[in-house]
């Protein structure tokens, strides 16, 4: 099991205490629906106390992955381990109720005929009767819902339902909780608030959690680690910083933020692009003619009004404090450029386009990332002259 680096702020250090066995482990798990492999030979570990975000576009198989762990789907191949016990694969099958895994459903799935307290107590049937009440009170305290224990689910707001669902999942002290798109039923404002609350609750409960999301911002903010899934395969798993700054595949790079890919040719001086020279070095290519693709984000692209500039402003997207310009290069390729709202360029204006990142740009060949490092520009001016 790989434990990522420990260079993060407090709260994320919990998982870093050495090589502890994984709470949830998937070993080359495959799940097919007909001819389609929803999950394709995927391996993944969840460390004790870790919050792992499963991120991917809809239909990428992330929810199926969660259901394989919970026991609602059976793997066609591979193994699922929970707390050191094989629960699926190799002839073993442990039904969901015996896995010791809590789940928070996308629609919360609160039992409408039971009160909040009864919902939470539902999972405590194996606990001594005398201990049920205190444990219920304890988890309701944890989520700040003790005052509403006698309410029925329909009397709660979306955020409150969310917290009850979490309390219910936590009550039987599972090895891990699984959260399926936990915030997708909340509106934008509430989502931000509940997100922070949930992270706080999970952290104070000290429990391993896996949550599924298609929202990259959510994954980066909530996850100790992020696993990016595409077409049933694991594209990359790592800390949010690693995923964001060092995407290992073109897919991962493209998934975060507005990303443009700019074709480039590897030369001795750096990378030659349509928008000038980008002074950075890449590891030599094993094959091909030196053609690569650069990941260019809007804040890596500057534009300056210039009557003889090669770029043309296609459109401007006003976003309050900033403006995103869509700029066409001579080849017709479109880049996005983030500009302060003070820069006002009309549609059709000619601009000089410059890729000026200030950090090495991720670079891909055939969809896979290449090692990059900043090259010392031969002269300070050369970098500045990387204009189109």
């Amino acid at each position: 099991m790989s434990i990522p680096g420990t260079t993060h702020e407090t709260g994320r250090d919990r998982r870093a205490a050495g090589e502890r066995p994984a709470v949830v482990a998937l070993r080359a798990v495959t799940r097919r629906f007909g001819a389609v492999a929803a999950v394709d030979r995927l391996s993944l570990d969840v460390a004790p106390g870790e919050i792992l975000a499963l991120l991917g576009p809809s239909g990428s198989g992330k929810t199926t992955l969660l259901r394989l762990v919970a026991g609602f789907e059976r793997p066609d191949d591979g193994e699922v381990w929970i707390a050191g016990r094989r629960v699926a694969g190799g002839g073993d099958w442990v039904p969901p109720e015996a896995r010791g895994v809590g789940m928070v459903f996308q629609d919360y799935a609160l039992f409408p005929h039971l009160t909040v307290a009864e919902n939470v107590e539902f999972g405590l049937h194996c606990v001594l009767v005398a201990e049920r009440g205190p444990r219920t009170a304890e988890v309701l305290d944890l989520v700040g819902m003790r005052g509403l224990a006698a309410r029925y689910p329909h009397e709660l707001s979306g955020g409150e339902q969310q917290r009850v669902a979490l309390a219910r999942a936590l009550a039987p002290r599972p090895f891990a909780v699984l959260l399926d798109e936990p915030f997708s039923n909340l509106d934008a404002d509430l989502r931000r608030q509940v997100r922070e609350e949930v992270r706080g609750i999970l952290t104070s409960a000290g429990i391993s959690a896996v949550f599924v999301t298609h929202d990259q911002e959510e994954a980066l903010m909530l996850g100790d680690r992020v696993a990016v899934i595409n077409a049933g395969r694991l594209e990359q798993v790592g800390t949010p910083e690693e995923i964001f700054h060092a995407p290992r595949t073109r897919f991962v790079a493209g998934f975060f933020g507005r990303a443009d890919f700019l074709p480039a040719r590897v030369t001795a001086r750096g990378l030659e692009t349509e928008a000038g020279l980008v002074a950075q070095r890449v590891t030599p290519l094993a094959s091909g003619d030196g053609h690569v693709e650069l990941l260019v984000r809007p804040d890596d692209v500057t534009i300056i009004a210039a009557p003889d500039g090669a770029g043309t402003v296609l459109d401007r997207l006003f976003a309050g404090s900033e403006i995103i310009y869509r700029v066409a290069l001579p080849s017709g390729r479109v880049l996005h450029s983030r500009q302060p709202h003070t820069v006002e360029l009309p549609r059709g204006a000619r601009v000089a386009v410059r890729v000026a990142p200030g950090h090495p740009l991720a670079c891909f060949h055939n969809g896979a990332a290449l090692e990059v490092e900043a090259a010392e520009p031969s002269s300070p001016r050369e970098r500045g002259e990387a204009t189109a």
Binding site: A70, D76, P95, F105, D107
Partner: protein, 536 residues
């Protein structure tokens, strides 16, 4: 908060979580019970002395087949001809009293066909009420005999057309008015829009209603028996009663089942409403069509239908009651048959629910071959007329289980097999409304599958269970042919009392039980319509 989205159930997926035995075993038993009548009829027909083929090719079979097909086609056609204009008038025009007419137009559905048949004979018979009313004017001593095709056609149309009406009205309700507006904005006139947009959109709903009418006619016994019209059900009953040739009765039954199956398959393939409202715009009421100078004609049309379908039954019932009271007929005579009807119906509804529950859960919640199989079996049971089920069980019990022959148990079992789809329908829709994630949540909280069924699923579908039970209970109260064939000696229910009395011409005695049955029938219709309203 958005409405919770129900996850599509894992139907038809490969290796899902195994189906628990507490569902599979009862489901298999129920499937066997449903298939028993058909399978036994096949066995019986195959074991005939004459070959099945000779039996099938008798001239009589062809005549019965032709009669039945003609009747089904005629009733379905006239039902559509009456119901579609009625639906349009009450749903889309400025017809005066549209609300009243729409209630009145649906009411005839509550009259069981055997009661309806007597009423038609009472009024239109050779020396019926109409003849007596006309005699002073015309001097006619007899009207042309209503018995036969004409009577069966009239009766069945009168009391079955509301199936089409209700379906088409649901179609009008669900239709997006902007589709018609789009057509108008594209330059089509009012009539062209109706022909090219409205009618094609309604077509699945018309077909769905027509399918119900056709199945109703095929399986009807009461009306055709009273009208002495030789259709499959009467021919089968005759063969059974006279015990002339039981194999021939089995063969006829099988042909009838096959016919119903063909109608069902054809209707389902082409008639399932396929047109869904697209888009998310707020729904507006449709434009009201001004009838203008056609208003009197429209009102006359509605009044005519209501006179035949509502005023006539009410009037005849009042007349019978009056005659009964005049003859000093004790109204208390109705108590014993009512008690028997209630007993049999309660037991039948209980068993039906018990049988429907496992297959409803299995078919809604689990994928795989068995779930698909149970759905098919339920589908088959739609095509089984009550008379055929009863006949098969009579044959079967007489030969293999004489101990249960003519017991209440066998009657209740027949009810359960017959009305299984009726109970399974509401149960299935109730189950479909419970998000499977609630059951999955219970599993992750450490509960086993049977435990989850008991603590989560059943409490959540309680209203569906109650609705299904009530519906089956009331439907059994009205049931005639199976009760006639299978009830223990001396076990006269409301339905059989009415049938015997009316067959013997003692119409006056049928008043009180008919009144009770109409009340029961109205209650069941109210339940059924309430459910449709919820689903719409």
């Amino acid at each position: 908060m958005r409405a919770p989205v129900a996850r599509p159930v894992a139907v038809g997926r490969g290796r899902t979580v195994p189906v628990p035995a507490f569902l599979t075993v009862p489901s298999l038993l129920v499937c066997a019970a449903v298939l028993l009548p058909v399978v036994y009829l096949v066995v019986r027909a195959a074991g005939a002395d004459e070959g099945v083929l000779e039996l099938l090719l008798r001239g009589r079979t062809a005549r019965v087949l032709l009669n039945t097909l003609l009747l089904a086609a005629a009733v379905t056609a006239t039902s559509m001809a009456v119901a579609v204009p009625l639906a349009w008038l009450t749903a889309r025009t400025d017809l005066p009293g549209a609300r009243l007419w729409s209630v009145l137009a649906a009411l005839p559905l509550v009259v069981p066909s055997y009661i309806g048949g007597f009423m038609v004979v009472t009024v239109f018979g050779p020396v019926g009420a109409l003849q007596r009313a006309l005699e002073p004017l015309t001097g006619l001593a007899r009207l042309p005999d209503i018995h036969g095709f004409a009577g069966a056609w009239l009766t069945l149309t009168l009391f079955a057309y509301p199936y089409v009406l209700l379906s088409v009205r649901a179609g009008f309700r669900g239709m997006d008015p902007s589709l018609e507006e789009a057509s108008r904005s594209l330059g089509e006139g009012e009539w062209t829009t109706f022909r090219r947009v409205t009618l094609p959109l309604l077509q699945p709903w018309i077909q769905a209603g027509a399918l119900l009418v056709a199945l109703y006619v095929l399986s009807d016994f009461g009306a055709v028996a009273i009208m002495r019209f030789e259709s499959f059900t009467t021919a089968i009953y005759l063969q059974y009663q006279t015990a002339l040739n039981r194999s021939y009765a089995a063969v006829l039954s099988l042909v009838l089942v096959a016919l119903a199956a063909v109608v069902l398959v054809l209707g389902e393939q082409r008639g399932r409403p396929r047109f869904h409202r697209l888009g998310a715009g707020a729904k507006r009421p449709a434009r009201v069509v001004a009838l203008g100078r056609w208003r009197p004609v429209a009102v006359l049309f509605c009044a005519g239908v209501a006179a035949l379908g509502v005023a006539m039954p009410v009037g005849v019932l009042a007349y019978w009651l009056a005659i009964g009271v005049q003859h000093g007929d004790a109204l208390t005579r109705v108590l014993a048959p009512t008690a028997r009807s209630v007993t049999a119906s309660a037991l039948g509804a209980g068993l039906t629910l018990l049988m429907a529950l496992p297959i409803a859960v299995l078919s809604v919640r689990h994928g795989g071959a068995l779930a698909r199989f149970t759905l098919r079996v339920m589908y088959v049971s739609y095509a089984l007329p009550g008379l055929v089920i009863a006949l098969a069980l009579v044959f079967f019990a007489a030969r293999y289980a004489p101990a249960v022959y003519q017991t209440l148990g066998l009657l209740v079992f027949a009810y359960a097999v017959h009305f299984l789809p009726q109970a399974a329908g509401p149960l299935r829709s109730a189950l479909q409304q419970v998000s499977p994630s609630q059951e999955e949540a219970a599993r992750t909280l450490g509960r086993t599958a049977p435990d989850v069924l008991w603590t989560i699923t059943l409490p959540l579908v309680r209203s569906g269970i109650v609705a299904a039970a009530a519906l089956v209970f009331l439907t059994i109260m009205k049931e005639l042919p199976a009760t006639l064939l299978l009830s223990p000696t001396g076990f006269d229910t409301l339905a059989t009392t009415i049938w015997t009395d009316a067959n013997d011409g003692r119409f006056g005695r049928t008043g009180p039980p008919a009144l009770v049955l109409l009340a029961v029938s109205s209650a069941s219709m109210w339940l059924l319509l309430g459910q449709e309203g919820r689903r719409a």
